[in-house]
């Protein structure tokens, strides 16, 4: 009984999450918020898997499109993710190093002391 109740609760939880996720657009859909910047729900008459490249390009988000178009010219890096991390968001990466340093200080203060 003690293991039965959590199993039921987790099954209900997983089932509800899957029900919500089945309402999302399929993987690779240009209507997804990761790719399209705004709502295109009025022109969804075409199935995703029948679109050509030219039609998919129309849905691109302006921010992602800016990075994709201008990152080789702006930064000289061929990999866009490298350009974002080390150039466009360099301060973010710098403070990330601070996070790692703080974690190191925490670990050293917890277990780094010598015992007498």
């Amino acid at each position: 009984m003690k293991k039965f109740v959590p199993a039921i609760l987790f099954t209900v939880f997983a089932f509800s999450m899957i029900v919500v996720i089945l309402r999302f657009a399929p993987i690779g859909d240009p209507h997804l918020p990761g790719y399209a910047g705004f709502d295109h729900s009025e022109n969804t008459e075409k199935e995703v898997w029948e679109m050509t490249k030219e039609e998919v390009v129309q849905y691109a988000d302006s921010v992602a499109l800016h990075y994709n178009r201008h990152s080789p010219g702006d930064t000289g890096a061929l990999d866009i993710i490298t350009a974002i991390i080390f150039d466009y968001r360099a301060y973010d990466t710098l403070i990330e190093a601070t996070v790692l340093f703080t974690a190191m200080i925490g670990v050293l203060s917890i277990i780094g002391t010598k015992k007498n």
Binding site: M17, P30, N68, I81, A103
Partner: protein, 134 residues
């Protein structure tokens, strides 16, 4: 119909399964090391969700731009940079790299605390630790 519906969203399904496995280990396992492993599995599911939601059909991954074989193909890179080819959104991948650093820090601190708890109490079982009362 249902098979199609699930197979088009298989990444999200795997994300939900990983999230539930991680949450189960985090809440119900009494061992502290297994709890830390559960946190890591849960974070991995979130990474997978972000990167899968940024994917776009017919678009190559952004890391395909680099590499010696791709540099020689300058005409294709220029064609993609002009906006004629759908490219995967690179922003979620960059954000997930930040999240990985935070995850590593959290794991390091938790493991250090687990070592200290084992030194002081002689066990990693949370039920026994609760019974000892400090």
């Amino acid at each position: 119909m249902w098979i199609k519906m699930i197979l088009y969203r298989i990444d999200y399904i795997v994300t939900v399964i990983l999230f539930c496995i991680g949450l189960y280990a985090l809440i119900l396992k009494p061992n502290l090391i297994k709890k830390i492993i559960g946190i890591n599995i849960l974070e991995t599911s979130v990474y997978l969700f972000f990167i899968a939601s940024a994917d776009v059909r017919l678009g190559p991954a952004t890391c395909q731009w680099a590499g010696p074989s791709e540099i020689s193909n300058a005409a294709e890179v220029a064609h993609a940079a002009a906006g004629h080819v759908p490219l995967v959104n690179p922003i979620p991948s960059a954000l997930i790299l930040t999240a990985i650093v935070v995850s590593v820090s959290v794991t390091a601190i938790s493991l250090a605390l687990a070592i200290k708890i084992y030194e002081n109490y002689g066990t990693l079982d949370t039920r026994k630790i609760m019974r000892l009362k400090g």
